[in-house]
């Protein structure tokens, strides 16, 4: 049996089945397919309502120093739909004609962007997955989560709500929330800004009855019809006879009330996270200063960290893209030495990178793309089998990342050894992400080598000669012993040299060689110290 609902399409339940809703006469407990979702299972729903959502979606990417308003309507009848704090301080109120708002002060007028709202709501659901695995969006400006199972993790309702408020502030949204045993009740309470926490179903009536009927967001004709018979509050509506209500308003209203009070199951589609994270933040106006982009970047990082937490995942590669006025792109990547999801650390790296960046064109949007998602890892267990102290590793990773984000990925290096007789091939650079740091020998067999200098000159310097004798700041004193190195014919970098230790008149000791072929030039190859 399938009930049709003209107001809202019936959502799918956990298993992708269409939920079946009995039109009338539903008796709790009879239907057990939806027990996971039905109120009888003792679920607890939290609704997040974002009262300023359409405006905040547009402005959250910048540190708002300006008064902004969102408008609705056409031409001269444009009205203020929402106003930010600064605009409100000027005396601008929602519902005011735009002309009146302009008269009150300088305001930036923004047009509603429903596509951006839709995407932002998706991202918010993604973020909320860290609070509960059961998240579903309630378009256009809210979402509802089942939190019964999460309370222990967050050490109770207070812990969860404070985490939530803190997170939403980071994302740049203002929040109204409410908790109730049915999702729809939570939604209604949150929209009316009651901050209620209703734990038992029998208390619902008391909390819901005074709410105006508009909070149900019924179709216009239904709400008008209800108003005409003097029904203004949910409590009034409930007192009407069911049969009459079903006849006059189609079964929809009864249906809604049943779901509202937990007498009918109200399955919600579970929001599922995509495989990779991809987010765009459009800026309300163009920014030409890379540092001003930090705010927008932070918003996206908050979303990313929420996504990673919700998926119990880590990442070590973030791709950023700045989209300029002329659609030109500036891409840059931020790598982490160790996979992680620490917001502060990633934020620091972003800031360092932005600081040394010169923008070619003003930026109108910023994008973050992360496909390098390592699932099933948590920061504390990722390095269980490393011999080294965990904290040391952590500290090193933080240090190395900072360094590389500011000075370039190749600026920080380690040293390595290679088994080769040619001095310039007997060593190598190693980079932090090589991952071979531990496999280095602590000491080597000195072998039949002569003395080796502490410094190797990168490009051997040609020395001047006088009567066939090399000079460097005056004549050089050569130690009579020489070391002949003749190797490398097998890889095309053959050398044939006689190495000497030489002392300058000022007392520095140098490592020089005489080429055994060609022009028999003398070159400086090292400094002994």
């Amino acid at each position: 049996m399938r009930a049709s609902n003209p107001c809202e399409p019936l959502p799918r339940d956990f298993h992708g089945r269409r939920a079946t809703l009995p039109a009338t006469g539903y008796i709790p407990g009879q239907e057990n397919v939806h027990s996971a979702n039905a109120s009888t299972a003792g679920a607890l729903w939290l609704h997040l309502h974002l009262p300023q959502f359409p405006l905040e979606v547009l402005t959250r990417g910048v540190a708002t120093q300006r008064a902004c308003v969102l408008t609705a309507g056409e031409g001269s009848r444009r009205k203020v739909l929402l106003a930010n704090t600064r605009a409100a301080a000027l005396g601008i109120r929602p519902g005011m004609p735009l002309g009146a708002a302009h008269a009150l002060g300088e305001v930036t007028v923004l047009a509603r962007n429903e596509r951006a709202e839709h995407q932002a709501l998706d991202k918010l659901c993604l973020w909320a997955l860290q609070l509960s695995p059961q998240v579903s969006p309630v378009p256009p400006d809210g979402l509802v989560l089942e939190i019964k199972g999460s309370l222990r993790l967050f050490k109770g309702m207070d812990g969860l709500l404070s985490h939530l408020r803190h997170g939403l502030r980071g994302l740049g949204y203002r929040l109204q929330h409410a908790v109730a045993p049915t999702p729809m009740a939570a939604t209604l309470l949150a929209r009316s800004n009651s901050r209620a926490i209703v734990l038992a179903e029998q208390d619902l009536m008391q909390h819901l009855s005074p709410l105006p009927i508009e909070t149900l967001r019924l179709e216009a004709r239904h709400s008008e019809a209800l108003a005409s018979i003097g029904v203004r509050r949910i409590g009034d509506c409930r007192r009407l006879p069911r049969d009459g209500l079903a006849r006059r308003f189609s079964p929809v209203l009864n249906d809604m009330l049943d779901r509202l009070f937990g007498r009918a199951p109200d399955p919600r589609p579970a929001f599922s996270a995509p495989r990779c994270f991809e987010a765009t933040l459009d800026l309300p106006w163009e920014l030409d200063n890379a540092q001003a982009l930090v705010v927008a970047g932070e918003r996206l990082l908050h979303e990313l960290v929420g996504y990673l937490r919700g998926n119990a995942a880590l990442t070590h590669h973030l791709r950023w893209r700045l989209i300029g006025r002329d659609n030109s792109h500036t891409s840059f990547e931020v790598g982490l030495t160790r996979p992680g999801r620490d917001f502060d650390h990633m934020c620091l790296l972003l800031r360092e990178t932005l600081m040394r960046m010169n923008l070619k064109a003003p930026v109108r949007a910023i994008e973050l793309y992360v496909d390098d998602i390592m699932r099933g890892m948590s920061p504390s267990t990722s390095d269980l089998f490393l011999g080294r102290n965990q904290q040391d590793e952590e500290a090193y990773a933080v240090f190395a990342d900072r360094f590389r984000s500011r000075c370039g990925t190749r600026a920080l290096r380690g040293l390595g050894l290679k088994s080769d007789h040619r001095p310039e091939h007997a060593w190598c650079w190693r980079y932090p992400d090589d991952g071979k740091r531990r496999s280095l020998p602590r000491a080597v067999d000195p072998g039949p080598f002569g003395a080796r200098p502490l410094w190797l000159v990168k490009h051997p310097m040609t020395l001047t000669t006088r009567h066939g004798h090399p000079e460097f700041d005056g004549p050089l004193q050569l130690v009579p012993e020489r070391e002949r190195i003749d190797a490398g014919w097998w890889d095309g970098h053959a050398i044939a040299r006689d190495y000497f230790i030489a002392t300058t008149t000022k007392g520095s000791r140098l490592w020089i060689y005489e080429e055994l072929d060609g022009e028999r030039r003398w070159r400086l190859h090292g400094v002994f110290e």
Partner: protein, 272 residues
């Protein structure tokens, strides 16, 4: 701000205050005896001023660095003048796995600020045992900042500079002047220009057993003497010993010339 607040600041040093922490053994007995705390400071800046590059400044600190590296501490080299050569470092007992090099040579713009930033980060990194910097001209203000960073990160910061900067003021609690001023080209003098907790005029010799050809003596320049004498307006002097260096031997002489508080000038000689 009253005087009490002022005295509590980490960057205020009281005359007569001797560093309490035991120093890090230098590996040279005589130098250990000369330095307050019996060795290198474990935190704070040490300035080493050489007349000529390559006369042994690095060798003076390597034994201590090697020991730090085996203790699991990072040794960070910021902008070294050449490539530190791995085989030689291993011979000196360094654990290469703990060595990090900061190379900014591919970044032409803002090189100096970048270098100082990098060095400060290294000093502040708690797991870094010692951070080495090669730099010429650097403002007093910046050195002060670095000194604070070294104290905060409890890192030993070693700054290698040319000798001519000995006249510049420096907040480093320990300053060594290193010059090969002896009669013998392979004999070097190490002057302790400044050291917290000792009076100046300690000098010692460091000798090394590397082959050394002979050459005529060379006197210290007047500029060098002037430089040392005017250092910080404190008691300075250059003690010079012109003894015959034994065959096959580098002798490094260290003189403590300036100190902030403490007692007794020391003079000593060390064989590497």
């Amino acid at each position: 701000m009253n005087l009490q607040d002022l005295m509590r600041r980490a960057d205020v040093w009281r005359a007569g205050e001797i560093p309490s922490a035991a120093g890090l053994s230098t590996g040279f007995e005589a130098l250990d005896g000369t330095l307050p705390g019996g060795g290198w400071p474990r935190s704070g800046l040490t300035e080493i001023l050489s007349a000529t590059p390559g006369i042994g400044a690095l060798r003076l600190v390597l034994p201590a660095l090697a020991r730090l590296s085996h203790g699991g501490q990072w040794i960070i080299w910021v902008c070294p003048p050449h490539i530190p050569y791995s085989p030689a470092l291993i011979e000196y007992g360094m654990d290469l796995a703990q060595v990090l090099i900061v190379d900014l040579s591919d970044q032409p713009n803002a090189l100096k600020e970048q270098t100082l930033w990098a060095y400060e980060q290294a000093l502040r990194f708690p797991d870094c045992g010692a951070a080495l910097l090669w730099i010429e001209d650097v403002a007093d203000l910046h050195l002060r900042r670095l000194q604070l960073a070294a104290k905060a990160g409890r890192t030993w910061g070693i700054v290698f500079r040319p000798e001519r900067f000995g006249t510049h003021p420096s907040p480093a609690p320990l300053r060594l002047g290193l010059a090969r001023i002896s009669h013998h080209p392979s004999t070097a003098d190490v002057d302790l220009l400044a050291v917290t907790g000792r009076t100046p005029s300690s000098r010692f010799d460091v000798a090394s057993t590397t082959p050394s050809p002979s050459a005529g003596p060379c006197a210290p320049s007047q500029r060098h003497l002037d430089a040392l004498a005017t250092n910080g307006g404190e008691k300075c002097g250059l003690a010079r010993e012109t003894e015959a260096a034994e065959e096959q031997r580098d002798v490094l002489q260290v003189t403590v010339l300036k100190a902030r508080g403490g007692q007794g000038g020391t003079r000593c000689r060390i064989e590497l």
